[in-house]
């Protein structure tokens, strides 16, 4: 029988995923995988760990192909590039 739970909006997804990650942070699973990536599917609460971001998302998508997943580096956050940041879209209306 298909699950009836609807996809949450992004803010809810982020908040819930952060909560799940915070709970997991002291677990051996997380401590022993520093530097790897964790993908969290927030509705089920399941997580998937892999060496790269792409692999972690891929693992999660095998189990949950139609769900958005939250992914982050275990330990320090992933470093993003110089012009990736967009704190304010000065002259444009938001697209999302």
């Amino acid at each position: 029988m298909p699950e009836n739970k609807t996809q949450q909006n992004l803010d809810q997804l982020i908040q819930k995923a952060r909560g799940i990650f915070a709970e997991l942070q002291n677990s051996e699973d997380i401590k022993s995988n520093e530097g790897k990536y964790i993908a969290i599917e927030v509705i089920s609460g399941k997580h998937f760990i892999a060496d790269t971001r792409d692999e972690a998302v891929k693992k999660a998508k095998i189990k949950f192909p139609d769900r958005l997943v939250f992914v982050r580096r275990i330990g320090g956050l992933e470093k993003a590039s110089r012009h990736l940041a967009s704190p304010v879209l000065f002259d444009y209306a938001r697209l999302f």
Partner: protein, 143 residues
């Protein structure tokens, strides 16, 4: 994969073919090769729309200015040397930015040789590099 130093701005770049859900459509882009970017690929929002990329998730990252934030991820394919590779590309929200960024993860299967003096870049799979360096003297420094 064609890698080069762009004469216009002097930056190292790679040419990549990207595709999304749009049928039989590949877009050739040039991406800034950024060793400070630990993800695989970040694409301008307009490129993502053009190829019909599917939203797959969200990630947290630390930006160069020290700020942390979230980045939307899209499932795309990148064609490198004839092979399609599944990549979760980050979205560059700022519509003023038209250039893609290729990070370390995308090139993890390769060894890169960057010749800053003569402005040349070459990506070599490790097995080919071993053949090339077979005759390197034993005291050759790896550092």
């Amino acid at each position: 994969m064609h890698a080069y130093f762009d004469a216009k701005d002097g930056n190292p770049k790679v040419t990549l073919d990207i595709s999304g859900t749009r049928r039989n459509f590949k877009k050739t882009i040039s991406a800034l090769l950024d060793t400070g970017h630990s993800g695989s690929l970040s694409l301008p929002i307009l490129d993502l729309i053009e190829i019909g990329a599917k939203l797959s998730g969200i990630t947290e990252a630390e930006f160069a200015n020290g700020r942390t934030g979230t980045v939307l991820l899209f499932s795309i394919k990148v064609t490198i040397e004839g092979k399609d590779i599944d990549v979760e590309a980050g979205m560059i929200e700022n519509p003023k930015v038209a250039e893609a960024i290729a990070g370390l993860e995308l090139f993890s299967p390769y060894v890169a040789i960057i010749d800053f003096k003569n402005k040349g870049i070459e990506f070599i799979p490790e097995e080919k590099l071993n053949k090339k360096t077979k005759n390197v003297p034993k005291n050759f420094s790896k550092h």
